[in-house]
């Protein structure tokens, strides 16, 4: 235990505790005001939404949910936009040094189930691997654990102990660029490798340690985050994503509230409610907007491909039953009420299209937290920066070896589809094996059959195929229906950062109309964003872009994925960006004769996996 200050008052903090957990423990639900004066606290809990910004040691715009506090840290409320205010002596101490440069055959980004499996498989196949993750410990969201206890889980321990795996904790990949990889003996543009830019140190702090990783193969296991649908009051402090509640419970042993309501769709609501119970919260109800009866339409397939998940789900269900937590289907939280934080919610019965059944609304009073989760949105920044093609404009398209459309780049886990930890791990194993092989025999796709894969590949592949069948069932059983549009009021914010209300979006859509040749479709996502300001704030549309595109009507915007193009994948302080970089290499693959970026690369050994 050590001391920190919160707005001048001293507080005790534990090793590994985040600023958000310290603030919540101090009884604070909010610690920031928007430029419009609205109070905000934690929302996504995993560094995506930028709602929980706080000032730490004079530096504003620090994500409280990510920042692990250190002894003596000064945590202060952030009101509106603020300029940094550093005492002169610290200014000099935070001048960043030159990047540490490492050349390594395989880089795995993300240390959740997929990344752990990928790193272990690649290292097992003989490759040296660098594993990068934002967390202090490997595990990602699924295997998240408190930083001050013993490490649990075989894979979590194995990656930290493996002689060929270099584990970079507390590290964020903010950019990657083609070229600069280890020499391969040929001058082929497709095998010039990748340069991965990493900052390591306290989240959003100035002067973090820069690493430049030069690699032949890249495995992207960047995970996903909860999708939250807007509803009146969803931006009140105390309304959080299901993932935020889960991360606080698992990683910080902190309950988001004492009287909590869970709402959304999908089986993930059960473990969230279960985690809340383990940290002492009272769960007033779990409201599943969909109907799990959908699973019964294909009972054989559900049992065949999902049987591994049943015991886990039954454990959660049993715990909920033991605590007499009501579980209601076809109902959802459609409004949250309160002045400076949530105090009550309205729950309503939903029609099959998710409109509110008239007269079914009822208020639940004395609520201090609401957790919402309507499926997941994949983290695509790095895949898009690498130039990977997408499937359905939403997921990274991968082939049978988890290879993307870009040679040398592999993807595993949630960026390729949502199907649970077992599928992610199986994909990670395939990706790790393939990446190790690519690093060794670049471009030689035809000879792809090393002994390791002959032995392990088919089994992993079978698990992947079963996992994907289950993922399709999951997606079919828990769709998000358009009726949620009717929950919104004119003044309900859709974009939380720029505080853009639904009414403004409706006017924009109404002015243009949905006519394809002369309407919103012609304008596209870019114009839509720039004219309404949706998605232009600090979260860069991560929370709102998908919802805003949905409000325009399905398929109306021809290019919704342009909102996911974020070449700077994580915020970087300008001084860190200005730090001296490594010497550029001659192999940098910027080709002045490169033609249309839309043209397929004929050299790419890629075919989308029909499964």
């Amino acid at each position: 235990m050590f001391r920190v200050t919160v707005d001048g008052a001293e507080r005790w903090a534990r090793t590994g505790q985040t600023a958000a957990a310290v603030l919540l423990a101090a009884g604070r639900a909010s610690w920031r005001t928007t430029r419009g004066g609205r109070p905000r606290g934690i929302f996504c809990g995993i560094g995506v939404c930028h709602d929980c910004l706080v000032v730490v040691n004079g530096v504003p715009d620090v994500r409280a949910c990510w920042r692990v506090v250190e002894a003596g840290d000064r945590i202060e409320t952030q009101e509106g936009a603020r300029l940094p205010c550093l005492p002169p002596e610290t200014g000099a101490g935070t001048t960043p040094g030159a990047a540490r440069e490492v050349t390594v055959p395989v880089v795995v980004v993300g240390a959740g189930p997929a990344g752990l499996a990928a790193a272990l498989a690649a290292a097992g196949a003989g490759a040296r691997v660098t594993l990068v993750d934002d967390g202090e410990r490997p595990g990602g969201q699924f295997l998240r654990q408190a930083a001050d206890g013993p490490a649990r889980g075989a894979a979590v321990r194995a990656v930290q102990e493996h002689p060929r795996i270099a584990w970079l904790p507390g590290s964020t990949v903010w950019a990657l660029e083609p070229g600069g990889g280890p020499p391969s003996g040929t001058q082929d543009r497709t095998d010039a490798g990748w340069t991965v830019h990493v900052l390591q140190g306290p989240a959003d702090a100035p002067g973090r340690t820069a690493h430049t990783l030069r690699t032949a193969a890249l495995v992207l296991c960047t995970g996903a985050y909860d999708r939250a649908l807007p509803f009146p009051g969803w931006d009140l402090p105390g309304v959080v994503t299901a993932g935020a509640a889960q991360a606080l419970a698992k990683g910080q042993r902190t309950a988001i509230g004492r009287r909590v309501v869970v709402s959304g769709t999908g089986p993930f609501l059960l473990p969230v409610a279960s985690s809340l119970l383990t940290v002492g919260a009272r769960v007033l109800g779990v409201y599943e907007a969909g109907s799990p009866a959908a699973w019964l339409r294909t009972p054989v397939a559900a049992l065949r491909d999902g049987h591994a998940k049943l015991p886990e789900l039954l454990t959660y269900a049993a715990r909920l039953a033991r605590h007499r937590v009501p579980y209601r289907t076809r109902q959802a939280v459609v409004a949250a009420h309160g002045r400076d934080r949530v105090e009550a919610v309205t729950v309503a019965r939903l029609t099959p299209e998710w409109q509110i059944s008239p007269g079914s609304e009822r208020r639940i009073e004395d609520v201090d937290a609401v957790c919402v989760g309507y499926g997941f949105t994949p983290q695509l920044e790095l895949a898009l920066a690498a130039g990977c093609a997408l499937r359905d404009n939403t997921w990274v398209a991968v082939g049978a070896r988890q290879q993307t459309s870009v040679p040398g780049v592999y993807a595993a886990g949630e960026p390729t589809g949502i199907g649970g930890a077992a599928l992610a791990a199986a994909e990670g194993e395939l990706a790790g094996l393939a990446a190790a092989h690519w690093a060794e025999h670049r471009g030689d796709a035809a000879g792809w059959a090393p002994a390791d894969v002959v032995a392990r590949g088919p089994a992993a592949r079978r698990r992947v195929l079963a996992g994907r069948r289950f993922a399709r069932l999951l997606a079919a059983a828990h769709p998000v229906r358009d009726g949620w549009h009717t929950w919104l009021g004119e003044d309900t914010l859709v974009c939380r950062c720029e505080e853009v209300p639904y009414g403004v979006l409706r006017t924009a859509v109404g002015e243009r109309g949905p006519d394809a040749s002369d309407g919103l479709a012609a304008d596209g996502m870019c114009t839509f964003k720039l004219t309404t300001r949706v998605g232009l704030g600090p979260c860069q549309g991560r929370i709102c872009a998908r919802n805003a595109a949905g409000l325009c009507g399905p398929g109306t915007l021809p290019d919704p994925q342009t909102a996911d193009r974020r070449p700077i994948a994580q915020p970087v302080r300008l001084a860190d960006l200005a730090a001296p970089g490594p010497e550029p290499r001659a192999t940098t693959a910027l080709d002045p004769t490169a033609l249309d970026p839309g043209a397929p690369d004929p050299a790419a050994p890629y075919r989308e996996d029909p499964t």
Partner: protein, 413 residues
């Protein structure tokens, strides 16, 4: 060039002019043509105004241009922008038109050019003297007064010049306003249609545009394809040496109002704009947007249509911006965006009819200044098309000029 009245009776059942490209230049041309009663169709292969226009800063600058034809175009445009927005607002009527300039974020915030070194200060003094002679308002600001203009500017500024004519507009909103006017006047806008070439009739004149959605008969075609104008000109059979030059802009987290008040740039800006070096050139331009974010531009490099960034370019921009504004050092960058600008070997736009192919017109090659130069470009093109006396001498921008021909010969060799 088309002679006589722009209203030839009887009118054929197809557009007089097809404008290829719906960026700010295409939009300005279409606006100026429809204002004269010309029937226009605007095509874009992508969503409207989503190319170069959507990836720039919205600079309306006179300060960075040495005396010459580009400055003439910039001065004419600078005077035209507020009038144009006011006219379009009036046309829309009181209810919709009020505050159009506001909605387009038109702001005459002024530019402040800063020299941090002695050499830059000397170059700046000579540069501004020549500009003043050409009609630019440029006021010297002493090193002791400069912090009254920009409180967060680095200490040790050697010289600074304030350019009150420099302004800013939100490019996509401005293009949308122009395209709305075209639509209102009966013009047709079609997105997602790619121009593939032209059909020629007897005498070699353009009779139709071939597109991905079929052949579109028309009286004339305006090539306003920006960085892709060279490609389309080639497909039409009249090669033009317009190439993409990439620019990158960094965007910071929202900052308090008044952190950066003007468009502030380094005196070395002029050097980069006037260079044909394919290697990276950067010079700092720092300015705040209405949303509170600060934009940091801009690099210029010729790397084809490569969309992926080089981190070295971002580093260079960040270094120069923090040298001007040390307070930005601990501010997060939340985004970087890049765009391709249409570059010509002699750094002048191409505006006017193509003598090699009657009925083909060009309005392109504005590099990073297209937003600022759009109104005068559209006006000039429409005047030439309608046979009106032009507001500017069109000679320097003509297609058949020596500065383009030399490069073209080299391209085809």
């Amino acid at each position: 060039m088309r002679q006589g009245s722009p209203y030839p009776p009887p009118r054929p059942p197809y557009p007089d002019v097809v404008v290829v490209g719906s960026g700010i230049i295409g939009a300005a041309c279409a606006e100026a043509l429809t204002r004269r009663g010309v029937r226009v169709t605007v095509l874009d292969r992508a969503p409207l105004a989503s190319g170069t226009t959507a990836h720039g800063e919205g600079n309306l600058l006179v300060s960075d241009k040495p005396p010459g034809p580009e400055l003439d175009l910039a001065l004419a445009s600078s005077a035209r922008w507020p009038r144009l927005l006011a006219e379009l607002g009036e046309e829309l009527g009181e209810e919709l038109g009020t505050g159009l300039a506001e909605r387009c974020e038109y702001e005459t915030k002024g530019g402040l050019v800063v020299a941090l070194g002695e050499a830059g200060a000397r170059a700046l003094a000579g540069f501004t003297a020549a500009q003043r002679a050409a009609g630019v308002t440029a006021r010297e600001v002493g090193p002791h007064d400069v912090h009254a203009y920009e409180p967060h500017l680095a200490p040790g500024v050697r010289a600074a010049v304030h350019y009150p004519q420099d302004a800013q507009v939100q490019p996509v909103a401005a293009a949308a306003a122009l395209l709305d006017a075209v639509r209102r006047r009966g013009g047709i806008l079609r997105a997602g249609v790619r121009a593939l070439g032209v059909e020629r009739g007897p005498g070699g004149r353009v009779t139709a545009l071939r597109t991905s959605a079929g052949t579109l008969p028309c009286g004339a075609v305006v090539n306003a394809c920006g960085p892709w104008a060279g490609r389309f000109a080639g497909e039409a059979g009249a090669p033009l040496p317009v190439q993409p030059r990439r620019g990158l802009v960094l965007v910071t987290a929202p900052l308090p109002p008044g952190t950066v008040r003007h468009k502030v740039y380094d005196a070395d800006y002029v050097g980069a704009v006037g260079s044909g070096d394919a290697d990276l050139r950067t010079s700092t331009v720092v300015e705040a947007t209405r949303g509170g974010t600060v934009l940091i531009g801009s690099s210029r490099e010729r790397s084809g249509f490569e969309e992926r960034f080089r981190v070295a370019v971002l580093r260079e921009l960040a270094r120069k911006a923090t040298a001007l504004f040390p307070v930005l050092g601990h501010v997060p960058v939340i985004r970087a965006y890049g765009g391709f600008r249409p570059y010509t070997p002699d750094h002048l736009p191409v505006i006017g009819p193509d003598p090699r192919l009657p009925g083909l017109w060009h309005a392109t090659g504005h590099e990073g200044a297209g937003i600022g130069l759009a109104p005068a470009t559209g006006e000039l093109l429409a005047q030439l098309y309608a046979g009106e006396p032009p507001c500017l001498d069109p000679e320097p921008y003509r297609v058949a000029r020596p500065g383009l021909a030399a490069e073209e010969a080299r391209c085809s060799a």
